[in-house]
């Protein structure tokens, strides 16, 4: 297999233009920490962003950071931390779940629209992504958006690139909006709630004026071990005030303990990375399902009565992580019957290659959306050489 690591945009453009001319399919990647996600695609050649590294723009007072796509996420995080800022959307680290090593890149965070618990309050990666430069499947260098927060000039191709998993272009540079780090983070923890009651509590918290930035429920085999988490961030005086108000508001659901510091941070990290569900090397499949928060428990009930499932909820109930045994269709039919009935979409996040080529990784789309998806793919990549088949068969 040929692998290219272009040094700059021109280089990348040349590599892709040549592949387009020859009709050579390309796998686009950063460091490959998430190569085991999406549909497995086998190509003769790959293009990696690792040669494109470094922060290109950082203006803390303007709350904006730009970087070449191969810049390690850890470098972005560290650069921002120096000025007491952070990425608003709290990107998940997939390595523990997938059992992979290496440095995730900022380009992949953009391409896969990777967010975490704070998504409910601060938006997803796609909401903070304000500019991209990419090479389309013709080998042309294209830009969309820019470095300013408010920009409605022309069609928003930034949004299309976020979550296209490299099927619409090879990202060379990405620009994100950032936010200050909070002075203090604190979590209210209620124990022993069943799923339905827990989601009710989370809905009450999220429907309050107290700016909740994390809302998760971690069930346990023994209900008494179940934990419901509500996170608050901000200036310390304000956090104190809101903790009190929320405790009062949630009184009917049980005692809410205040949980802060390393242990609490680690717990939120395990929610973010879905390691509360399972650690690497486990022989179960993992699904990520987005639905309306109060429908989460219903969705789980439909699935768990049919197959041996384990699960937890983030986003106030709207993000359900489910693990299933590696048998049959890994639960695809029951899960997708449930998303069809209740609304939402399910992604098969972790399963062996053989399973991910057999089972739809992304929620199957309606005919009309499929038609638009194919049209859009062709408009960026007429020869179909960029990550072919990574999202949908034949695309």
């Amino acid at each position: 297999m040929n692998s290219f690591s272009p040094r700059d945009e021109q280089d990348a453009s040349a590599v892709i233009a040549e592949a387009a001319a020859k009709g050579t399919p390309l796998t686009l990647m950063g460091n490959g920490t998430k190569a085991a996600m999406g549909r497995p695609n086998q190509t003769e050649a790959s293009v990696s962003s690792v040669g494109l590294s470094g922060v290109t723009l950082y203006e803390p007072a303007e709350m904006v950071i730009g970087a070449r796509s191969g810049t390690p996420l850890s470098e972005i995080v560290a650069t921002l931390a120096e000025k007491n800022q952070q990425l608003p959307f709290e990107p998940m680290d997939y390595r523990p779940l997938l059992g992979t090593k290496g440095e995730p890149t900022i380009g992949a965070v953009a391409a896969m629209n990777i967010s975490g618990p704070r998504r409910i309050m601060a938006g997803a990666a796609r909401d903070s992504l304000i500019g991209v430069r990419f090479i389309n499947g013709r080998g042309e260098a294209v830009k969309s958006g820019g470095r300013v927060m408010k920009n409605v000039t022309g069609l928003d191709l930034v949004k299309l690139q976020a979550g296209a998993w490299g099927t619409l272009g090879f990202l060379t540079e990405v620009t994100f909006k950032v936010l200050p780090k909070p002075e203090r983070v604190s979590t209210l923890l209620i124990r022993g709630l069943d799923d339905v009651t827990a989601i009710e509590a989370l809905s009450a918290a999220l429907g309050s004026p107290f700016d909740v930035t994390g809302a998760a429920h971690l069930p346990a085999p023994d209900r008494l071990g179940a934990r419901t988490l509500v996170r608050l961030e901000g200036f310390s005086v304000s956090v104190d005030y809101r903790l009190n108000e929320l405790r009062r508001l949630l009184k009917g659901f049980g005692t809410a303990d205040i949980f802060e510091g390393r242990g609490a941070d680690a717990l939120w990290q395990s929610v973010r990375d879905a390691t509360v569900l399972q650690e690497r090397g486990s022989d179960r499949a993992v699904w990520r399902v987005s639905t309306a928060p109060t429908k989460g428990p219903d969705l789980v009930a439909r699935v768990a009565t049919t197959i041996d499932a384990q699960w937890f909820y983030d986003w106030g109930g709207g993000l359900v992580w489910i693990s299933t045994p590696l048998i049959g269709d890994l639960g695809a039919t029951v899960i997708r019957d449930a998303t069809k009935a209740l609304g939402g979409h399910a992604t098969l996040v972790s399963a062996p290659d053989s399973e991910r080529s057999r089972i739809d990784v992304f929620e199957p789309q309606t005919d009309a959306v499929t038609m638009l998806t194919r049209g859009i793919k062709a408009s960026f990549d007429p020869a179909g050489i960029l990550n072919p088949g990574r999202m949908y068969a034949g695309l």
Binding site: V142, G146, K150, V152, K159, G207, P209, F362
Partner: protein, 477 residues
Amino acid sequence: MSIAFPKPDEAVLSRRSEILAGLGRLVAPEALIVSEDERRAFETDGLTAYRQLPLAVVLPSTTEEVSAVLRFCRDHGVKVVPRGAGTSLSGGAIPQEDAIVLGVAKMNRVLEVDFKNRIARVQSGITNLGISQAVAHEGFFYAPDPSSQLACTIAGNIAMNSGGAHCLKYGVTTNNLLGVTLVLLDGTVVQLGGDYLDSGGYDLLGLITGSEGQLGVVTEATVRILRAAEGARPALLGFERVEDAGACVAAIIAAGIIPVALEYMDRPAIQICEAFAHAGYPLDVDAMLIIEVEGSDAEIDDMLRRIVAIAEPFRPKTVKVSQSEAESAAIWKGRKSAFGATGRVADYICMDGTIPTGQLPYVLRRIDEIAKSYGLGVANVFHAGDGNLHPLVMFNTNKPGEMEKAEAAGEDILKLCVEVGGCLTGEHGVGIEKRDLMTYQFNPMDLEQQMRVRGVFDPGWLLNPAKVFPLEGRFAA
């Protein structure tokens, strides 16, 4: 009058009665407007210097009617200009002589409110404020709040990706939209998103938002609703120098504070607004900031205290911290009347570029020079936190040639925004107004990629085709 419309298609004009008859078979009689008098009401939008009388106006009541009308227009090669309330400031909703206007204003119902899941599903012709009003009894609101919110529709907001005074904290339309019902030109009805977060495949919802009525017609929308903060209060700070105000904004953000609103007014804007609203603004400063924070009373006090302390080194000449609702209203009164007050002293055009906020002092100086070079005045009010400028270039319509001068000055200002790393439009959209400037921000490859995507939805350029893309160099797909 320097912006050109494409030449109307004579063949379509000559088939007018046939087209009207065809449309008449698809919608209820009262939904089809054909008389010249009634069509006049739709000949322009918020960019009133430009007018075009459409072939007809159709105001459907259902998604099915919208679908039938679009399919008919596609089959008969008739152009369609989608319309909400017609408040676009970039001419986005201005018709063409050989086009029909397809308005969604009659489709204005709330379909579902779900407080537990914090969403509202509405028909797209509902006004922006209408959504907030429908959920206010539970203390909720719809966050993006353009100043036109009393009139403008969510359909127009989606098409323009509209913002508002509070978007620093809450984001703009695209950050608050969960789903739409979209009717494609061939009549296909597509559901994008729903009552949940993020989409499975390509982010088509994100693509539709801000697409200025060129990809399809939105008939329903699901939006996020939020619980309103317990309270909000502003502080007013006046500075002798523009640089100090700019540095103060930077220092507030560096301190980790994101106010819910951070508005800037320059000397001419302060003078004009004070004369009109008697808001108690300082008349001896070059720059003024209105900084609003939210929360409980104690939280607000704490935050405003911090802000005043941060401002100290920049030697503000005026510091007014609102202590009551009445004082807050007074501080906001001037700012909110900025457009109206300016309209009383002059005709004006409102520009909408965005700049990196670090460039503020330089850009304001250049804007002043540009206006002066055309012999015109300019007042600046804008969202300082995100760099979205609204220079109001003032002129006198009755003086021949002044409007053209104002347009030319506006153009120079927008080019300046692009030069310093910003963009042509932060929230009002490209429309016809900035169409011919697109080549300053985008190179041919950038624009071609956008047009190819556009072509997936409308290969024949029938949907709002006079807008966004320069008339030269267009292609189908």
